[in-house]
């Protein structure tokens, strides 16, 4: 009889077991696939499917990473890149939000600006580098402008569409209760536009990071993109692969931080 009473359903769940489960789902699942890839990579190097100069052992890449971290060189490169992407992204995001919201508010402005904007956004970021090099030289200004432009495009697109996508029914509720401009902004427009605007911001940051690497590859003497290119020229394949992994990781972390902010701003959307 006691067996039935203490059946698993009625037992209160064990806290530490729950925590282990949470850690497993948080890390094990997203890391399983990369781990398999590293294993395959290791096997490929071991059986020399490719010459070692082209595909070094994962362990060598790891050693190169440890060297870079211990030597302090890595931190220097990251801070160069992070500084550039921060400056460029903030400039592009502010300009993009201003223009995007203005286009959403005023149709006449949209009519005037949209065609040129669409045409500009069709030219890939790299395509702008030659022209801007002539105007701005090879200095920091070039990099910041390129990164800002990359972030600017998706932020304009999403924030101008966000205002148009507010359900008209909500605005009618605002009229029924005779909201003034400020109340409409605070209670309807801002909360309704947070999701699409934030999608634009996240996408803009990804674009900015990608553009950073591109511009550092072409015109720079420091930063992660430069390190990647330099390692290729020196045939330090381990450093090259490590730089690529790092670029991906930093981008991932930045996107993750923005995703967390997004969730906080939209707590009403959470499921429980």
């Amino acid at each position: 009889m006691t067996d039935i009473v203490s059946s698993p359903i009625s037992t209160p769940s064990v806290p530490w077991l729950e925590r282990v489960q949470r850690v497993v789902t948080a890390f094990a699942i997203p890391l399983a696939f990369p781990a398999v890839l590293v294993l395959l990579w290791h096997l490929a190097s071991t059986y020399e499917l490719m010459p070692e100069q082209i595909l070094p052992y994962p362990a060598y890449v790891w050693d190169a990473a440890v060297d870079a971290i211990v030597g302090g060189d890595l931190l220097k490169q990251i801070s160069f890149s992070a500084g550039r992407v921060t400056a460029g992204f903030i400039a592009g995001a502010v300009a993009g939000l201003v223009l995007g919201f203005a286009m959403g508010f005023w149709h006449w402005l949209d009519d005037h600006v949209r065609p040129l904007f669409t045409a500009i956004s069709q030219v890939p970021t790299i395509g702008w580098i030659p022209l801007l090099m002539l105007f701005l030289g090879l200095g920091e200004a070039l990099k910041i402008v390129i990164i800002a432009k990359a972030a600017f495009i998706p932020i304009v697109m999403n924030s101008s569409a966000a205002l148009r996508s507010i359900p008209p029914g909500y605005l009618e509720v605002a009229r029924i209760f005779r909201f003034n401009k400020l109340q409409r902004l605070r209670l309807v427009i801002l909360p309704a536009t947070v999701p699409p605007v934030f999608t634009g911001i996240r996408y803009g940051l990804t674009k900015a990071w990608t553009a950073l690497v591109a511009v550092e590859l072409l015109a720079s003497s420091e930063g992660l993109g430069y390190q990647l290119n330099w390692a290729r020229q020196m045939f330090w394949l381990d450093t090259m692969i490590f730089s690529m992994i790092l670029i991906g990781l930093v981008g991932f972390v930045m996107d993750h931080i923005l995703a967390r902010i997004e969730v906080r701003l939209q707590r009403w959307k959470l499921t429980d």
Partner: protein
């Protein structure tokens, strides 16, 4: 026109005179409302029934001030030109703001009221109690069922005590049980809070149960076909046989609007196999 008010009579609390509304759809004129004349007395409960597309929502939106038509609409002595806090509108869909909690949504109705913070809090609490949602004050709309969301919308619509409460098929999307419950609750609120109500529905039973006057509309163009007074005391019981008489009158009127029924296919034409 039987039952319509004499257009020259003294205007009531809400008074609609020669109201027309034309929409333009693909360069064609669509007469949504044709010469609507209607008076609603203070403290009365008027219901409007009619087939889909006969202009019920359009009429309500014009009275609310969300839309304009030709003709005059006078509420409480003033012509209706834009929305007013003295007119509340409950939409067919709840239209709660998903980013606000239930109590914050109800408080929207007090956003421009003159009450101080303490009074607002008390009013919101009282109205949540009125629609039996006190336990859900801190919940978000996505955590509510359709019927609960509609109750929040009703609380939001009446929290500021509009003199005239306009309801556009507020229970249309609900199941029969919830609808019956909310109809009883609405009767109760209307009686105890001395509201004036104008409710649009396509449910004849609902129109008869709630209205002390039922306006039957006919479509294309949207007109008032008939106005039927229902002099029964409140609260009304939906099982009361007295309601059936009025219900049948309205169904007859809707049959006239629909035109003669096809003669074939009647039960007596079906041959019973020997």
């Amino acid at each position: 026109m039987p039952g319509s008010p004499d257009p020259s009579a003294r205007p009531g609390y809400l008074s609609i005179r020669h109201l027309n509304k034309v929409f333009r759809v693909n360069d064609r004129r669509l007469q949504a409302l044709l010469d609507i004349n209607l008076d609603v007395e203070q403290g009365s409960f008027v219901t409007i029934v009619g087939a889909s597309g006969c202009g019920k929502s359009t009429l309500l939106r014009i009275v609310a001030g969300l839309e304009t038509g030709e003709g005059t609409v006078i509420h409480d002595g003033k012509p209706v030109e834009e929305p007013s806090l003295n007119r509340g509108l409950v939409f067919q869909e709840a239209r709660l703001f998903p980013w606000l909690t239930v109590e914050q949504n109800v408080a929207l109705g007090l956003e421009n009221a003159s009450a101080d913070a303490r009074t607002r809090e008390r009013l919101v609490r009282e109205h949540l109690e009125l629609v039996s949602l006190t336990d859900f004050a801190k919940a978000y709309p996505r955590q509510l069922s359709g019927g609960m969301a509609q109750r929040v919308a009703i609380a939001r619509g009446i929290v500021n005590r509009p003199g005239l409460l306009l309801l556009d098929e507020p229970f249309g999307a609900l199941d029969a049980f919830t609808r019956a419950h909310l109809q009883d609750e609405l009767q109760h609120i209307w009686e105890h809070e001395h509201l004036t109500a104008l409710l649009v529905t396509h449910d004849v039973d609902e129109a008869v149960l709630l209205g002390n006057r039922v306006v039957v509309m006919s479509p294309r163009p949207g007109r008032i076909a008939r106005v039927i007074d229902i002099p029964l005391a409140y609260p009304r019981d939906r099982r009361s046989p007295d309601l059936i008489y009025f219900r049948n009158q309205i169904l007859d009127e809707l049959d006239v609007i629909r035109g003669p029924r096809p003669v074939t296919g009647k039960a007596r034409d079906i041959k019973v196999p020997a």
